[in-house]
């Protein structure tokens, strides 16, 4: 992923005539994000919040170039919407839709390989580049332009952390919610790589959750490839760990999926870790003020 992927200006909304699509299109326009068109099959010719609606992406592309699509299409049709965007060679697809079936995601991931598209999500709150683009549902009024890059698996924790940083005057270069589902288009490592190589980023913040092995993989990547300071919090220190059915999980690998184990892995990789969001923001705040003195 390159920084320019997120700052492109020809943005469309798939599922623009639904209640979320309509409401969030308005919010995106209010922040100055350039939504040029939207799609809903069968509703071509309508206008939503001043934005023209088309039946398909192909119809839009006859008249406008398209750089980015934000998908609000309901889960039963989300697969078709994402595959349509991949077929149309759209560089960035941000899928907000929650509840996309796992087998649909398996098919989407196969199609993403060797495609021209990057998919963020599904079940993602989207991406904010403060002052540049709001691609999704993250409340823009809580963001502040700056040099911190934030990546999170959780929607609401993304807002929480971003708001906490902004309140202390710590601005953000990127705020990316990669989505809460286990199978998704973009993972922590893709974002860490982007942050590490973008000269406009000086601090990285990673918010994880219990379950899965993404944080362990991120920790390995941080240890081997990230030189910028990383601050991390893994939610769920007091959450019960799910009961596993059958033996297949254990045979595939017995990674400890608890918040404590993930926090340990990140700490060993050199990240500054916290046990709550409050503590995380204090740590970053302290580091930021110390760092300013060093400059």
């Amino acid at each position: 992923m390159k920084p320019t992927l997120f700052s492109a200006k020809n943005i469309i909304v798939q599922g623009i005539t639904g209640s979320h699509g309509r409401f969030q299109t308005k919010a995106m326009l209010t922040t100055g994000t350039n939504v040029v068109a939207g799609t809903t099959p069968g509703k071509g010719g309508q206008v939503v919040e001043g934005v023209p609606v088309y039946d398909s992406i192909a119809d839009i592309q006859k008249e406008h170039p398209v750089d980015t699509t934000v998908v609000f299409v309901p889960a039963p049709f989300a697969k078709l919407a994402i595959l349509e965007a991949i077929t149309a060679h759209i560089p960035l697809i941000v899928c907000i839709t929650e509840g996309v079936p796992i087998h649909d995601m398996l098919e989407i991931r196969k199609r993403l390989k060797n495609s021209d598209s990057v998919l963020i999500g599904p079940n993602s709150p989207g991406v904010i580049i403060p002052g540049v683009n709001k691609l999704g549902i993250i409340p823009a009024n809580m963001s502040l332009p700056g040099r911190t890059a934030l990546v999170s698996r959780s929607g609401t924790l993304t807002y929480e952390t971003m708001a906490g940083l902004s309140a202390r005057g710590i601005g953000q270069r990127y705020v990316i919610g990669i989505g809460g589902d286990r199978i998704r288009g973009t993972d922590f490592i893709d974002c860490l790589e982007l942050f590490e190589h973008d000269p406009d980023v000086d601090t990285i913040v990673l918010i994880g959750e219990i379950g899965g092995t993404d944080e362990q993989l991120a920790a390995d990547y941080i240890a081997s490839s990230v030189k910028k300071p990383v601050f991390a919090y893994v939610a769920g220190h007091h959450a019960p760990v799910g009961v596993q059915l059958g033996h297949a999980g254990a045979i595939l690998g017995t990674t400890d999926e608890s918040a404590d184990a993930k926090t340990d892995a990140l700490k060993r990789a050199g990240a500054h870790t916290a046990t709550s969001i409050t503590q995380l923001i204090q740590l970053i705040s302290k580091w930021a003020s110390g760092n300013v003195k060093n400059d």
């Binding site: 979320h20 969030q24 919010a27 889960a75 039963p76 907000i96 929650e98 509840g99 996309v100 079936p101 796992i102 087998h103 398996l106 991931r109 196969k110 709150p125 549902i137 409340p139 809580m142 999170s152 698996r153 959780s154 929607g155 609401t156 924790l157 807002y159 929480e160 708001a163 809460g180 286990r182 199978i183 918010i207 959750e209 219990i210 899965g212 092995t213 993404d214 993989l217 919090y233 939610a235 769920g236 220190h237 007091h238 959450a239 019960p240 009961v243 059915l245 059958g246 033996h247 297949a248 999980g249 254990a250 045979i251 595939l252 918040a259 046990t275 709550s276 969001i277 409050t278 503590q279």
Partner: protein, 355 residues
């Protein structure tokens, strides 16, 4: 959603995978069973055999007692509504075979072992066959499985088996299909001895699923029934972080609750009703950061729900995000304050909570 054994085996049979001849029993049935018969308690948990949940009955005079015993037997807190009565297989060997999803690679994996049964996890990790299976490589995978099991004469049969379990896995939106043991009978047939299946709840919209253990609301989890502070938040991450913050501040969180994006009065009333059953509850912390949901909807739901419960402990509410100003108006009219941050909520709650 986790299926019971008989439900999973029904799906296997529909995909032409052989299962033992069987019938299901409910309490107070008077079954006509040919003996010997294997009776299996249908509970949604593992370790059933070791807990006494499987009985082999050879003699008619022991049958009713065995049935009654199994219906009365609680296994890890679960009592069966159904028993599975199966023919006793003539076993030559027990193998292990499963399909699962590798979530990092986003692919379906076939995992097999020559030694199946309850001790399968004792096998050495690198002794498994563990390969990707897709609609394009089923024949090759069947061939590899026959080579691995060292049953070259069964190659066609195993290719069919792989095709059938793959079809069963994909058409049912499964996330786990585990046949353990996969029984090879003395007359050289493969039969699914036991089967565990888990289906993707997100795909429920395209199926007509009717199973005993329908997806339960995992959104409300009791962490400590003697806890002093109840938590309500939106989004699993924020809900977990709220619990972590309560614990960090030295109080004892009683529960985890994610009200999700659709925060309506019914959800909150149901939550409040469960919370007031905790004996030591002294505060409720509500932490909502509205992105797709809207603060004013949440505020209206809180006001309406509060009116329906008499003995509610004090609420410490932190609401931020979309339509925040409208929420402040709604709550202040009812004399309910909104605090600026979660820390403020916790500090205020701490004043009220005595440990």
């Amino acid at each position: 959603m986790k299926l019971l054994e008989y439900e999973a085996k029904n799906l296997l049979s529909q995909s032409r995978v052989a299962t033992p001849r069987s019938s299901t029993l409910h309490q107070n049935d008077s079954p006509q069973l040919s003996l010997p018969v294997v009776l299996k308690s249908q509970v949604p948990t593992g370790g059933r055999g070791k807990a006494g949940g499987i009985r082999i009955v050879e003699d008619q005079k022991n049958l009713q007692q065995a049935i009654d015993d199994l219906f009365a037997l609680s296994i890890k807190g679960f009592r069966p509504h159904t028993l599975l009565a199966e023919e006793k297989l003539a076993i030559a060997h027990e193998y292990y075979l499963s399909l699962t999803i590798d979530r990092v690679a986003a692919e379906i994996r076939l995992i097999a072992h020559t030694d199946g049964g309850v001790e399968v996890e004792e096998n050495l990790e690198d002794s498994y066959l563990n390969i990707e299976v897709s609609k394009d490589n089923i024949e090759a995978v069947g061939q590899q499985l026959a080579d691995y099991y060292n049953l070259p004469g069964q190659t066609f049969v195993l290719q069919d088996l792989v095709e059938n379990i793959y079809k069963c896995f994909t058409t049912n939106d499964a996330t786990l299909l585990e046949i353990n043991p996969l029984v090879f009978t003395v007359d050289e047939k493969f039969v699914a001895g036991d089967c565990k299946m888990e289906l993707d709840d997100s795909a429920a919209f395209r199926h007509d699923w009717k199973f005993e253990n329908q997806a339960t609301e995992a959104n409300f989890v009791t962490l400590n029934p003697n806890g002093t502070v109840a938590t309500i938040a939106n989004g699993a991450g924020l809900a977990m972080a709220t619990v972590d913050a309560v614990a960090d501040s030295g109080m004892t969180p009683a529960n985890f609750l994610d009200i999700g994006g659709g925060s309506n009065t019914e959800t909150l009333v149901a939550a409040f009703r469960r919370i007031v059953t905790y004996p030591n509850i002294q505060a409720i912390v509500i932490n909502v950061f509205a992105g797709i949901s809207r603060c004013d909807d949440v505020a209206r739901a809180i006001v309406a729900a509060k009116d329906q419960i008499d003995t509610l402990p004090p609420l410490f509410i932190r609401l931020v995000g979309t339509n925040f100003e409208a929420a402040v108006d709604i709550l202040s009219e009812e004399g309910i304050p909104i605090l600026a941050t979660l820390e403020d909520c916790l500090a205020a709650a701490k004043q009220k909570v005595t440990s």
